[in-house]
């Protein structure tokens, strides 16, 4: 057996920072290797939102009336983008819970690596996968006739808002994943994320819902991002006189920041509490 020489434990802040970056990237590459090993799983995950777009766009779309009489698919796509960002929370949660249950998280924590890399690597991998998922959905949108009308700059801003929502929900997923002790909890969240997705302005105007339900739907962070991206892409939206409807753009920034401010510290604390 050869002698294994491991680099010594970093002493300076700079060395520690370097380990944090290198280790986070190594953990990220683990997920990339998963994709390469399971292309079928990746394809199914990417095709699910595409299928939803086709289903709503062509099956139900005929029965939907779009504000201003525009094309339903023009209206539908921004909502689907936002919904896909929300559903990403499941993937994060499943990954975090299964690593914890299988002892992989403990293995990481018992190794001389940067502790932050466990969570950071997960985050980078999930953001990469959501970005790819969004790109595929945008391509699908273009194929079914959706367009952006206010130029590339505004369109990119819209994409930025979508990824900001995903980034905020990433920490919700990590927190819930660390909190969940069993796969049953994950299943519960997978089910609950559906009403959460539908209780929004993605498919139906909140104004058509019973008063209080409409208010909840209008204030759903998902609705803010959907309404804001409709504005930025120049697609038809529900409009409305309510303050929340008129300030969708601002709320599409504020909501994710609020979620981040709450769930980022919660996740970090939860991770540190694993040693309690």
């Amino acid at each position: 057996m050869t002698v294994v020489v491991a680099p010594p434990v970093p002493r300076t802040l700079l060395e520690r920072l370097r380990w944090a970056v290198v280790d986070a990237w190594t953990v990220t590459r683990r997920d990339l290797a998963h994709w390469a090993r399971q292309p079928a799983v990746v394809v199914v995950a990417l095709l699910f939102p595409v299928m939803t777009v086709l289903m709503f766009g062509y099956l139900f779309g005929g029965a939907m009336s779009v504000p201003g009489g525009g094309d339903y698919r023009e209206f539908l796509l921004p909502g689907m983008f936002a919904l896909t960002m929300v559903f990403g929370i499941e993937a994060t949660m499943v990954a975090v819970t299964s690593d914890a249950a299988k002892g992989v998280t403990d293995r990481f924590r018992s190794m001389p690596m940067a502790p932050s890399a466990v969570v950071a690597g997960r985050g980078i991998a999930d953001m990469l996968s959501s970005t790819v998922g969004l790109a595929v959905l945008i391509a699908c949108g273009l194929a079914v006739g959706w367009r952006w009308h206010h130029g590339a700059g505004q369109a990119l801003l819209g994409v930025g808002l979508l990824l900001l929502l995903r980034f905020a929900l990433l920490w919700v997923g990590i927190y819930l994943g660390l909190l969940a002790r069993s796969p049953e909890v994950v299943t519960a969240v997978q089910i609950l994320v559906w009403p959460l997705g539908f209780l929004s302005n993605v498919f139906v105007a909140p104004a058509t819902m019973p008063g209080w339900l409409g208010a909840v739907a209008a204030w759903n962070p998902l609705s803010a991002t959907a309404a804001a991206t409709r504005e930025l892409f120049g697609n038809p939206g529900w409009g409305g006189e309510a303050w929340i409807a008129e300030n969708a753009l601002a709320m599409a920034v504020v909501w994710p920041l609020v979620l981040l401010a709450v769930f980022f510290p919660l996740s970090v604390r939860r991770f540190q509490r694993l040693s309690r």
């Binding site: 057996m1 050869t2 002698v3 294994v4 020489v5 491991a6 680099p7 010594p8 434990v9 380990w19 290198v22 280790d23 190594t26 953990v27 590459r29 683990r30 290797a33 998963h34 090993r37 399971q38 249950a101 299988k102 002892g103 992989v104 403990d106 293995r107 990481f108 924590r109 018992s110 190794m111 001389p112 690596m113 890399a117 694993l274 040693s275 309690r276």
Partner: protein, 321 residues
């Protein structure tokens, strides 16, 4: 290693979860290069002890040193010198065996070439080279555990913690893992392992510490503990319950002990000193008395019997106690 020659020293470790005292003044010392078995039933505090020593948990009280470093203040240094095998095989099941070793090798900050060389070495050492490219999900339980062990050994740690390393494995997988552990120990690694099985501790450990209610209640070599408990036992199962008194008398006479008689299973059980001689003599004596035995077996005392002896209660009464 610390100047005391001990690879692991724990003194008065405490850990509470709410009202439950998982560890309540737990002490253990493991001399460098030896194997120590922590033997105890579920909930005795074995896993909590291992998790504290492997820096996964902070102790509520007491102190511990591993490889000469304090597990709380110098956790990073401790992690450099330990390998940990948890209760489940902590391998990435999607990745292949080699990819697992490369991933964790990189996380141990080996450069790519060193990580590759180490992966190949470990695959050979643990007889996994043939399955190196297959996803770990397709491995048998024993193979997965061996991969798990190989990952723990990437940095050739001086201290290895094994938390119930063979739980859930079939006899073959168990033997594979035992063999791998024996080879490591021959190479000088210090091992602290937990187990619920006396025979596992017996097979692997130089010294055994019996743990109950979060503290060590007995400590010694396997032979010392067994002789304290009364060593191995002989079980005689009869064809007819009518012959139980006669059989008990015969077994008692041969072994010089007061046998236990179980009416339900028609079994007479007694401690023996010399295994083989006792077996021969019991068979002959039963034959002479014309008693028909359905089964005669020598066996190690069970954890239950160790517990009964040391604590006066059965291991599975843990929760009620």
């Amino acid at each position: 290693m610390s100047e005391t020659g001990f690879a692991v020293v724990a003194e008065g470790l405490r850990k509470r979860y709410g009202e439950t005292r998982a560890l309540d003044g737990f002490d253990v010392t493991v001399p460098a290069g030896t194997v120590c078995g922590l033997l105890g039933p579920n909930g005795a505090g074995k896993t909590t002890a291992i998790r504290i020593l492997a820096t996964l948990l902070r102790p509520g009280g007491g102190r511990a040193e591993v490889a000469g470093f304090d597990v709380v203040r110098q956790a990073a240094q401790v992690r450099h010198h330990i390998g940990l095998l948890g209760q489940h095989a902590a391998v990435d099941e999607v990745l292949s065996g080699r990819q697992n070793l490369l991933l964790f090798g990189r996380l141990y900050h080996l450069d790519p070439r060193a990580a590759r060389r180490r992966a190949d070495e470990l695959l050979d050492q643990f007889a996994l080279a043939g399955a190196a490219g297959k996803p770990a999900r397709q491995y048998s339980g024993g193979m997965r555990r061996r991969l798990d062990l190989a990952i723990s050994l990437i940095l050739a740690p001086s201290v290895l913690f094994l938390d119930e390393p063979t739980t859930g494995l079939d006899p073959r997988g168990r033997n594979e893992v035992w063999q791998a552990i024996r080879e490591l120990v021959a190479g000088g690694t210090t091992v602290l392992l937990t187990t619920q099985y006396l025979d596992e501790a017996d097979q692997l450990a130089d010294r055994i510490s019996v743990i109950d209610h979060g503290r060590a209640i007995a400590e010694g070599t396997p032979d010392q503990l067994k002789s304290e408990i009364g060593g191995d036992r002989i079980d005689v199962v009869l064809r007819s319950a009518d012959e139980l008194p006669a059989a008990a008398a015969t077994v008692g006479r041969v072994t010089g002990a007061d046998p236990e008689v179980d009416q339900h299973t028609r079994r007479v059980s007694a401690p023996v000193r010399d295994r083989v001689a006792a077996l021969t003599e019991v068979v002959r004596a039963l034959d002479d008395s014309g008693i028909t035995a359905e089964d005669i077996a020598l066996r190690r005392p069970t954890l239950d019997e160790v517990f009964l002896h040391l604590t006066g209660r059965r291991a599975d009464e843990e929760v009620a106690a």
